[in-house]
Symmetry: C2
Subunit: 334 residues, 2 copies
């Protein structure tokens, strides 16, 4: 909550900026004993639980386009962090926001703060502190949640024979990005639909909480299924067999060419769905959770011990024929 | 711990970068049950204590010069955050680091990580997570400490009649900055001394811990005494009477002109000393703490109820004559 200025240029008026734009996101939470305005915020986690902590930094021109709607950007800035809590099975407690801005334009800050506050309200995850400074636009959120230590959904917990599951559908965000880049074309109504998946992802908090004690390993898919699943496999010392035709996709994506479908589901990005492993005995329970939450859950493969060649990923199609598991082989469009 | 790339440009290789450069800063702490490499880190605070949390964002060209020694920058990036824990009376538990870098130059990252790790080791405050991405250089640290809730040194706790204290000396960092800007001149050996205060501040963690249950209000001075003290006064609903000639300064600063001394002690910046209030009955104890820790502690004034005109700051010199309490009046050099 301090703004240092050795180069002497005056910082944005930190307190008035927070008062004016971020008051709505700062409502005191049940576990926030001291919010914005002191050297530190004070947080009291539920007794016996652990703090789950994640940081993400979003840079203009890299993680978002300069002309993106600031309200959807406010949503996404918090959503990608909440998604990390979801992947751990953690309940949101609060977040800090450090932001560098080229100016303090109310026409940008107002909707940005609104998008942030709407999502913060919805998940009872108040803004508890942060920092503001002038600089190239950069948004850094650190989010805090709580989880009973033994129920945390870690990446290193997959076991041989586990089913592999995916929530929701994969690939719509990548479908939008490809159209915006001119890799392929979509009609306007299709692009609007796909772009919504890219701009306004929904963190799977309720599913993460429901999977405590049910799933073993879990993570959120932000960089594409193949790359992210690799983290579970590496940390668990396991391999996986995946049916690429079983990967859940929207009707919009299912209407595209097979190449585009493969690329977007396997090597997309910005999906923010959960990929998790669970004992086969949990199938009924996981399907019931999906029904109860209204979230599609799809079994896409199984976890196995590594073979002698230590190949981690084995992909096949719905005929059983082997498919190359090379990340780059799905990105013909780069 | 996720790196999203909707614009499709590949991120820095996050895991290899962390493995190569930041392994030393990531040693597991006593309260860190899961460190880098999962969706979230897991932290178990000491039973019955609260989490103290602070975020600071440092931007190149604003908070540090582009050509600053990366090792001292690594130190300072963590030090300014630890200083916020010190000001709360909190014990460090760990920190996250999100960094945007224009490139992954080992000649910069190596010493930066070294400066960070040396300070992290010294305060048993391990790196527990974060994010890396390409972008204009930006360093965002979020630091976590623990403190028994009732002993937290808050800004809103000053009482009428409290003494006001300052640790260490004020103004050397501003003295260096002015010389670098050409506002005044220092000989090389003087500049080197002053610059060390600016580049390698020491967070007053031990003092903050010793002041639990002894001090009432506290904060760290990062933006200059007058501005920062104003936060204690505003949040406590109090005013302060300060003897500007009692402000502690180094021999180097005391050898400068009276104007430079006033500017640097009252409206400097980057001091990272603690300013705290305490009941007059605690004088002996505070002096004993200072002696024991080898830290200079200086009484600079008193807290009072606001007068009818609600003037918060009353400055006087050592003859008792009133001095204008206008922040800008001390900055003739801007």
């Amino acid at each position: 909550m301090t703004t240092t200025s050795p180069t002497g240029s005056s910082p944005l008026s930190e307190f008035s900026l927070i008062d004016r734009f971020f008051a709505r996101a700062t409502r005191q939470g049940e576990h926030v004993t001291l919010g914005i305005g002191d050297d530190c915020a004070l947080l009291r986690p539920p007794a016996g639980e652990q703090l789950a902590i994640s940081s993400d930094m979003l840079v203009e021109g890299r993680h978002f386009f300069a002309d993106v709607d600031p309200r959807t950007l406010g949503h996404k800035t918090l959503a990608v962090n909440l998604s990390d809590l979801a992947a751990m099975g953690a309940r949101p407690l609060g977040f800090t926001l450090a932001l560098a801005l080229p100016d303090s334009d109310p026409a940008w800050l107002g909707p940005f703060a609104q998008g942030l506050a709407e999502l913060a309200d919805r998940y009872e995850c108040p803004l508890i502190g942060g920092d503001t400074t002038r600089g190239p636009r950069n948004l850094c959120v650190t989010v805090f949640g709580s989880v009973p230590g033994v129920q945390a959904l870690r990446r290193d917990a997959a076991q041989p024979g586990d089913d592999l599951w995916i929530s929701g559908t994969l690939g719509d965000a990548r479908l939008a990005l490809g159209a915006l880049r001119g890799e392929w074309t979509l009609v306007d109504s299709e692009l609007a639909l796909a772009r919504r998946a890219m701009d306004v992802p929904e963190p799977q908090i309720a599913l993460g909480l429901a999977l405590r004690g049910v799933a073993r390993a879990a993570l959120d898919i932000s960089d594409g299924l193949l790359g992210d699943l690799g983290h579970i496999l590496a940390r668990s010392g396991m391999s996986a067999h995946i049916d690429v035709d079983a990967l859940p996709r929207s009707a919009l994506l299912a209407a595209q060419s097979p190449d585009i479908q493969r690329l977007c589901t396997l090597a997309g990005g910005d999906d923010y769905q959960l990929c998790f492993s669970a004992d086969a005995a949990q199938r009924g329970r996981i399907e019931a959770i999906g029904n109860q939450l209204g979230i599609r859950v799809t079994r896409i493969g199984t976890i196995a011990l590594p073979d002698a060649r230590r190949t981690m990923l084995h992909l096949h199609d719905n005929t059983g024929a082997s498919v190359a598991a090379d990340f780059k082989s799905f990105d013909h469009f780069q």
